[in-house]
């Protein structure tokens, strides 16, 4: 019970640790990935480490194998020579001994003692170091008599020796690797078997030492290589980092920023060319700024120089116009034309100045958080007279509570231009003005059902002074700059102004503005292209039109009104 109770929080703790461990792992992983992505130095050091690790491993293995082979081979050769000399000694000692007689055991023991003693006493001859020896009669015919331990000798080896061959074999005795050399020894009686056992522990120790030396050496080499790689990359990366910082500052508008050039190496050459580039960019920008200032100056001068005489002419014309009833018919008409054309001239001049201000980038955006319904209504009211003149019904769909940070003067101007344009080209059919908003954007769509636009014209309508061929006759007396100015006004808000049109189906203009100044637009709350096909337009469409991609069916009132408008 107690363990159960104690186990519960423990398990929970374990789960929590596991969970936080996973989180920690993910964080560390993300950090490492980021460092990997962002640091050239880290990448170079890590790849140097990996590659040199592979090289060191292969090299170490080859070295170790080679050394081990040589060591064993030398031992082996010495052992075989030693065995040969031992045989000679043994044969001399045992030439008159018959192993099958009584007391043979003692004789064998003595022979072995002499063998081992002699080998240490006899200097000069190649020795294979310390060894143990064993003599045996073998189990062939008669009882086996042995001297010395035979544990290390395998049965196969004994069989091979019994058949009269010199054999060598590696075995492990008491955990020590041992080389066993066996050979027959001739005696007066049956043959004896002589085994010499050379322990290899000294060689094993040597090999172990070499191995650890190789590992330590390899590790030190790796670390050194990593350090070198890090140092070398730093030499390259540091100027690159410096260059990046300088370039960033330059991009932020600090045009006087230059790279410090030291020496004459490749980096210095890179910096020099960068500096040259920066210099020429700076000159260009300065020139552009001067042109901009000139342009603004020109705008202001034209504004004053042109407007003052225009004011005088305007006033003079108005004085004439005021007393036109006293004039002859021709003079009266002339004064009317004069006043009307002066209006047009003023609009044109105003638009020209406005667009040159927009071009010069001196236009200011004075935004307020406003109810778009009011802004759009005011714009529509301003052109209502125009609509009534041409008998164009205006259909408004302006929901309340659509707020956005806009410059009311500019937005009103855009909507006014769009509606006036729609009235101009709507051929008296209804013009729909729809307002909608979503979380990030507001949109106004102005739709007419007039001649529409031919393919490709939707891209041209915003061009300065562009006019559709059939619509030379204008009621609003537009300057041909209205839509261009509207486009610039929309851009100033960070908004979109788009056009859609089809021959015979009319056209639609959509203004989309971000709700918050400076916000980036991603989508519009309203579709630009009208939903569905407009049957009133008489557009040749197949009878079985599937549900249009925009999903919603055509609003009934729009259709019926369009039908009513159709003569």
């Amino acid at each position: 019970m107690r363990t159960f109770i104690a186990g519960l929080p423990g398990a929970r703790w374990a789960r929590r640790t596991a969970a936080s461990g996973a989180v920690l792992f993910a964080e560390v992983r993300a950090a490492v990935l980021t460092a990997w992505r962002r640091s050239l130095q880290l990448r170079v050091v890590v790849s140097t480490l990996a590659l040199s690790l592979a090289v060191v491993l292969v090299l170490g293995l080859v070295l170790q194998t080679q050394i081990a082979d040589r060591l064993i081979q030398a031992k082996f050769d010495a052992a075989v020579i030693q065995a040969e000399s031992a045989r000679v000694v043994s044969e001399r000692d045992l030439s008159g001994v018959d192993p099958d007689r009584e007391g043979a055991q003692g004789t064998l023991n003595n022979a072995l003692d002499r063998l081992t003693n002699q080998s240490t006493a006899e200097s000069g001859a190649p020795t294979a170091g310390e060894f143990r020896a064993a003599l045996t009669t073998g189990t062939g015919s008669g009882p086996e008599i042995s001297a010395g331990g035979l544990d290390a000798v395998s049965a196969e080896q004994r069989q091979a020796v019994a058949s009269g061959a010199l054999t060598t074999q590696y075995a492990t005795v008491d955990g020590i690797p041992t080389l066993v050399v066996g050979q027959p020894v001739r005696t007066a009686g049956r043959e004896l078997q002589l085994y010499l056992m050379f322990p290899l522990d000294a060689e094993q120790r040597t090999l172990g030492l070499i191995q650890s030396t190789l590992i330590v050496g390899g590790l030190v080499l790796l670390l050194l290589l990593a350090g070198i790689a890090s140092l070398v990359t730093r030499q390259v990366v540091r100027p690159v980092k410096q260059a990046a910082e300088v370039a960033e500052r330059f991009a932020e508008g600090h045009l006087d920023e230059r790279m410090p050039v030291h020496g004459e190496d490749e980096v210095a050459r890179l910096f020099e060319s960068y500096n040259e580039m920066a210099g020429s960019i700076q000159t260009q920008i300065r020139q552009l700024e001067e042109f901009g200032a000139l342009q603004r100056r020109f705008t202001s001068d034209v504004s004053h120089e042109l407007r003052t005489p225009l004011t005088t002419v305007r006033m003079a014309a108005d004085v004439l116009y005021a007393s036109r009833d006293e004039l002859l018919p021709a003079l009266r008409r002339s004064s009317e034309l004069l006043v009307n054309e002066l209006d047009r001239f003023e609009t044109l001049l105003g638009d020209l100045l406005e667009i040159s201000r927009l071009d010069a980038g001196v236009a200011e955006l004075g935004t307020d958080r406003l109810d778009m319904r009011h802004v759009v209504s005011r714009a529509v009211e301003a052109v209502r007279g125009l609509a009534e003149e041409s008998g164009t019904p205006l259909v408004l769909d302006l929901p309340g509570d659509v707020y956005a940070e806009v410059d009311s003067r500019r937005v009103e101007r855009i909507v006014r231009n769009l509606v006036a344009n729609a009235i101009d080209h709507g051929e008296g059919r209804p013009v729909h003005v729809t307002l909608a908003g979503d979380e990030r954007a507001v949109a106004v769509v102005v739709r007419d059902h007039g001649v529409g636009l031919r393919p490709g014209e939707a891209g041209l309508v915003f061009n300065r002074f562009w006019r559709a061929e059939e619509s030379r006759a204008r009621r609003s007396g537009g300057s041909g700059l209205g839509l261009s100015i509207s486009l610039e006004d929309a851009r100033l808000h960070g908004g979109w102004l788009q056009a859609w049109g089809e021959t015979g189906r009319g056209s639609a203009f959509r203004l989309t503005l971000p709700r918050t100044e400076g916000d980036l637009l991603e989508s519009s709350p309203l579709p630009l292209q009208p939903e569905g096909d407009d049957p009133a337009a008489g557009h040749p469409m197949p009878a079985s039109v599937p549900t249009p991609p925009w999903g919603t069916p055509i609003p009934v009132d729009a259709t019926s009104e369009a039908e009513r408008a159709e003569p």
Partner: protein, 229 residues
């Protein structure tokens, strides 16, 4: 003071054709006019002639229109209407801040100009005896005098009109559009910056601490109203 038959307009403009045309139109509308073609001579002309309205072109040789405006305002409360060829925000705000009461952008229609001038001289009509109070400021309407604890505050006629308009209906919140109509005489929507600039100027004179106004209060998102008496 006797009610003059003809209001006098001083035209300060360097363009002789425009000045002549202005003279023709204004005379036709029943004004007396005098023309000065040089900024440096504007101030002496104001002193000599004591006009009811100054019509001031902003671009002048000799002395910049803005400077002329400041110089006149420094010693006289005479209504100043700027003639400006620029509709740039900065120039208009600069002109208003240097003391102009109203502005007309070239090219203007004669009727528009006359309406603007009429709105500025309208106040000379006789007014009923009226005593108003906002905060600790007392207004003697017929005497055109504003005092705080007996101390006189000098206001231009326009600032006075603005204050009186607010004081006459202490409970009402005035939108900028309504003030434009009542004080400036605009019948259509006009530049609301006129109101903003002049409210700031008025506050700098009548408020103890213009940062924390007690006389002319801002009603956020709507407009202005008078402080409690």
């Amino acid at each position: 003071m006797l009610h003059r038959m003809k209001s006098r307009v001083l035209v300060v403009d360097d363009d002789p054709a425009l000045a002549e045309m202005l003279t023709i139109v204004l005379r036709g509308e029943g004004f007396d006019t005098a023309v000065v073609g040089d900024g440096t001579r504007a101030l002496p002309a104001v002193r000599d002639m004591r006009p009811d309205v100054v019509l001031l072109d902003l671009m002048l040789p000799g002395m910049n229109g803005i400077d002329v405006c400041r110089a006149i305002r420094a010693e006289s409360g005479v209504p100043i209407v700027m003639l400006t060829a620029k509709s740039d925000t900065v120039d208009i705000v600069l002109g208003l801040e240097s003391g102009a009461d109203d502005y007309v952008v070239k090219p203007f229609k004669p009727k528009e100009l006359v309406a603007r001038i009429r709105a500025r001289v309208r106040r000379t009509e006789t007014e009923p005896a009226e005593q108003l109070t906002i905060g600790d400021v007392d207004i003697d309407v017929p005497a055109h005098q504003v005092t705080r604890q007996g101390e006189r505050i000098a206001l231009t006629p326009l600032e006075f009109d603005l204050l009186v308009a607010l004081a006459r209906k202490p409970r009402q919140v005035f939108t900028r559009e309504v003030l434009l109509e009542q004080v400036w005489g605009y019948r259509h929507a006009a530049d609301t910056r006129l109101v903003n600039v002049h409210v700031q100027r008025l506050r700098s004179k009548v408020e103890k601490d213009p940062e924390h106004p007690e006389v002319v209060l801002t009603v956020r998102g709507v407009g202005y109203k008078a402080g409690p008496p």
